[in-house]
């Protein structure tokens, strides 16, 4: 007996350990994907919880230990000083009280880290209890395993988390737990003897099976995914927390934009870290000559010099509009000699020995140290954050004469060989609108739909003679920021709105809180970006963002009294739709035209893209109906059975029909114990229905089953009895 007990407790320990591994898989990605730190504290808590439950600690004692651990960890994580000074107690308590208040007011985003940690502990506590329940009471853990698997695969697909090893670990641990639990469930049910011998006969094949299947799965060649990675769509949809855009086709920030197009790979290398009070894009330079293939800037040797603290000679905003003074600080990681700055820059603060030079055409600022080009380690920029009055913007319908031809020509320049249909399209899109602002917004939102897809990989490089914009607008409709921004500028210019193409970086990814109101953002090569600035004579340059899934964080102030075009709410900026995955398309399609299959593919993908809401809704509805139908199958199964068996004239079918009837009776709650004979059960059923049908039907079935055949001529009566009974089950 003692040997068996020891064996048992070892097995239980093993089960707990494997479940711990499964739970661990839930915590692993947190560090990488969220702001959660100190994962080990939670792991230790899980370990303690499972250990307590394994040791069968009395509930009160376990409760006490866990509470002490939680409080100690929170003190350790969030408070200075020794645990035993107890001076942390009142702030902790007041924090919890405040958070309770927030919870009652549903101000979820305001909750403090301390309270979130507490909630997380409680969640883990519940999980450890559930694990115990599944392992010991239910002896079933498939649900948990399945959820773990789903969690990991979803993370792997939609985030940067690489789950290759996690899946192997989960499969191994999960199968081991499920296999062992199945065995013990069987033992329980059948009350077998000689458990030791049996368990050896079960566990060894189980181990071999897991080992073989995992190593086979690991070693076997894996098919390429049928659909391209959906991640870019999802991530571009959610710039707030997800990955930024993949930048440009070159690695990092380049200067030559004279030939745009072609796919590129992302690069996670950090360019700089910024401490910013507000989210804003980082400009590097602007370009204003579109060649039909890319962007160039007018060559100039002119350089405007200025010192740190001087006013920067860039005047993007007209004086007098609403602005707010802000400061951002940049900590460079890569040795670029140019300066990234936000729109509305006023001054740059840097070391005494530094000075700056600016190219007046591209507005690119170079940093110098003792008059030689040098990279800055750190600098901060003071800038004015504009809040554009939409009413003002809507006033503009043309450029006043005070802006000379030179200005107009510069910012409405287009190559003469630009296909006319680009202009026709722009006019068509903007036809309903009078003023520049609404026209610009119309073009901007045109890219948010109309079959355009965000993609970094399957992007065509225009062939000889093809126009970069024309091809994107009318043909590929698939590309990244350069495609979108260039196309928008070209369309704007074709309807006479002065605009320019801006290069730089997005705000990057939020990393942690900085000092004061500031937050730290990390900007990588993936965050390299391009967008559009439009000139409004009474306001200055206004940035717009045509690229799907991005937001330029521009503050448009709409009148409180709606002025007739309420559809242009600023929130639209963020409402880029997630887009169905687009199939591979040949890269040379620009010059040769699509082949048959890719055309069908394109149609299919367009269909999915345009109808995705519908499809999703239909799918959800179908699943819901299916589930409902399954749950309520006792309502309709009889009809199916009657349809299926009524016309049969063969004795063989009595068995299937009778078994179906038993299943149906079981579903409505008349359960037959496995040791109950059909006669006893029939009597029980008849008592329930107050009839004799089941006994009569059963006696016929007995004849068929135990005698081997039915008497001739009874089949019709059998059918009648059977039909009566199965109809009763739905009554």
């Amino acid at each position: 007996m003692t040997a068996e007990n020891r064996n048992n407790s070892f097995v239980t320990l093993l089960l707990y350990s494997l479940s711990f591994l499964l739970l661990w898989e839930w915590l692993r990605p947190l560090k990488q994907l969220t702001e959660t730190g100190n994962i080990h504290v939670f792991l230790i808590f899980l370990l303690i919880s499972l250990l307590l439950s394994y040791l069968g600690m009395p509930i009160a004692a376990g409760f006490f230990i866990k509470i002490v651990f939680i409080i100690y960890s929170m003190q350790f994580l969030y408070f200075e000083g020794s645990f035993f000074m107890f001076d942390w107690m009142s702030p902790m308590w007041s924090d919890v009280k405040m958070n309770m208040q927030l919870v009652l007011n549903s101000q979820w985003t305001e909750l403090t880290s301390l309270f979130r940690t507490l909630l997380f502990f409680i969640l883990l506590w519940l999980m450890s209890y559930l694990i115990q329940y599944w392992l010991i009471n239910r002896k079933q853990i498939f649900v948990f395993f399945f959820m773990t698997m789903t969690y990991i695969t979803v993370l792997d697909t939609f985030t940067t988390y690489e789950a290759e090893n996690a899946i192997i670990r989960t499969v191994t641990a999960g199968f081991a737990v499920m296999g062992m639990l199945t065995f013990y469930r069987l033992l329980d049910r059948e009350s077998f003897q000689r458990k030791a011998a049996l368990s050896r006969r079960w566990m060894i094949p189980l181990a071999i099976m897991i080992l073989v299947s995992v190593s086979l799965g690991f070693a076997a060649p894996k098919a390429e995914p049928l659909w391209p990675d959906p991640v870019p769509f999802i991530t571009s949809y959610n710039t707030e927390s997800g990955e930024g855009e993949g930048g440009t086709r070159r690695v990092g920030y380049g200067t030559d934009d004279s030939r745009l197009g072609g796919p590129f790979e992302g690069d996670n290398e950090v360019v700089f870290t910024a401490e910013a009070e507000a989210r804003h894009y980082w400009k590097v330079e602007t370009k204003d000559i579109y060649t039909g293939r890319g962007w160039i800037a007018e060559e100039t040797d002119a350089r405007l010099s200025f010192l740190p603290g001087d006013e920067v000679p860039i005047h993007s905003l007209i004086e007098g509009i609403d602005t707010e003074e802000r400061t951002s600080t940049v900590f460079m990681e890569k040795g670029y000699q140019h300066v990234q700055y936000p729109l509305g820059i006023q001054q740059i603060q840097a070391g005494k020995s530094n000075s700056f030079e600016m190219n007046p055409v591209t507005e690119k600022i170079y940093s110098l140290e003792t008059s030689r080009p040098a990279a800055l380690d750190t600098y901060s920029v003071n800038y004015l954050e504009p809040a554009y009055q939409v009413a003002d913007l809507r006033n503009i319908t043309e450029l006043g004469s005070e802006f000379g031809n030179q200005f107009i020509n510069r910012y409405t320049q287009l190559p003469p060989e630009l296909p006319a249909r680009v202009k026709e399209l722009a006019e068509e899109v903007t036809a309903e609108h009078e003023n520049w602002f609404d026209k610009t917004r119309a073009i901007e939102s045109y890219f948010r739909s109309s079959g355009f897809t965000y993609d970094q990989r399957d992007v065509a490089l225009p062939g000889q003679g093809a126009d970069y914009v024309d091809e994107f607008l009318f043909y590929t409709k698939q590309g990244y920021c350069d495609n979108f921004s260039t196309s928008m500028v070209v369309m704007l210019r074709s309807v006479g709105i002065p605009s320019r193409w801006v290069k730089g970086y997005t705000e990057g990814e939020y990393r942690s809180l900085g000092e004061g109101n500031a937050r730290l953002y990390e900007v990588t090569n993936n965050n390299a970006h391009s967008w559009v600035e439009v000139f409004f004579p009474n306001v200055g340059w206004v940035p717009f963002e045509p690229t799907q899934g991005f937001s330029a964080n521009v503050d448009f102030v709409f009148d409180t009294t709606p002025s007739g075009s309420s559809e242009n709410e600023p929130e639209e900026e963020n409402e880029a739709e997630p887009v169905a995955a687009t199939p591979d398309q040949p890269e040379d399609k620009g010059s040769t035209g699509p082949s048959g299959i890719s055309q069908i593919w394109a149609k299919v993908s367009t269909f999915f893209y345009e109808q995705w809401e519908w499809l999703l809704g239909t799918a959800a509805l179908t699943i819901a109906l299916f589930f409902l139908g399954y749950r309520k199958r006792y309502m309709w199964m009889p009809a199916y059975y009657i349809f299926r068996y009524k016309s049969k004239n063969n004795d063989e079918y009595i068995e299937k029909a009778y078994i179906a009837l038993l299943g149906q009776l079981d579903r409505i709650g008349l359960k037959r114990k496995s040791n109950q004979t059909l006669r006893e059960y029939a009597a029980y059923v008849d008592q329930f229905f107050s009839s004799k049908d089941m006994r009569r039907l059963t006696s016929y079935y007995e004849q068929f089953l135990y005698r081997g055949e039915l008497k001739d001529g009874t089949w019709n009566e059998v059918k009648q009895l059977w039909e009566n009974l199965i109809k009763k089950t739905t009554a």
Binding site: L662, Y706, R707
Partner: protein, 317 residues
Amino acid sequence: MREQMNPTIETILENIERVMTGKRDVAKLSLIALLAEGHVLLEDVPGVGKTMMVRALAKSVSASFKRIQFTPDLLPSDVTGVSIYNPKELEFQFRPGPIMGNIILADEINRTSPKTQSALLEGMEESSVTVDGVTYRLEKPFFVMATQNPIEYEGTYPLPEAQLDRFLLKMKMGYPGTNEEIEVLSRAQKVPPIDDLEPVINLEELRTLQKEMKEVFVDDSIKKYIVEISTRTRTHDSVYLGASPRGSIGLMKAAQAYAYIHGRDYVIPDEVQYLAPFVLSHRIILKSEARFDGVTAEDVVNQVIARVPVPIQKAVK
């Protein structure tokens, strides 16, 4: 819907009931054993009407009835018969013992020595007895109803396991209920009714019944069910030695007989379930710790029946 009993059997049962009140089940089981050509072990205290029932049974089927009272000093030859020298004929003449009958009541079989017991048991198994080197065949039908005192009583020689296995059924008679006992008293005031009992069938007809009984169909699924029950008694926790294959055969034959007297030509699981305790429990030897815990062989069989699933679909070949 009640099944129609075999009319002949129904008459025999009614006949027996005229002398025995409220013991229809016991009478039915005895008939099952008679039809299945098995023997019955009745474990009960004296005076509950065992003899009366066997005599009624014997009379109903026109069989010769013999009774052997086993005592500690009974010799094998007292059972089988003995050869006696006849001075007139100048040769040994065989004088048959009480075993040379159709229906034998072996009273208190566990009171006699194993040697004498084995003389009876040889007859039961081989349908023949050997006296002085000569083998005499016993006339068929040959049906032994042995009674034994509960083993705990003093002065008994418990039957060895191998010999218990030879009995098809073991059952208890039990005391009659209050009303039935009053009825017994009333009958005792009159002439014993056993004397005017009329035979229902003759021996030839009985043999026909026995032959017909063998034709009752047993489906493979039922056979599998029977074997499953026997097998599970062997692996049960409390069991030292489980039911033998002879037990499985016995269970099948008894079930056939049961189906037959109910006028059905095939066996259903209900019969197996009903008969299993009577057929199997005396063939099971419990572990001593289980006996100390108060577990009985009937408990074990009932537990096994509760666990083996009833076949409700054709056996997959």
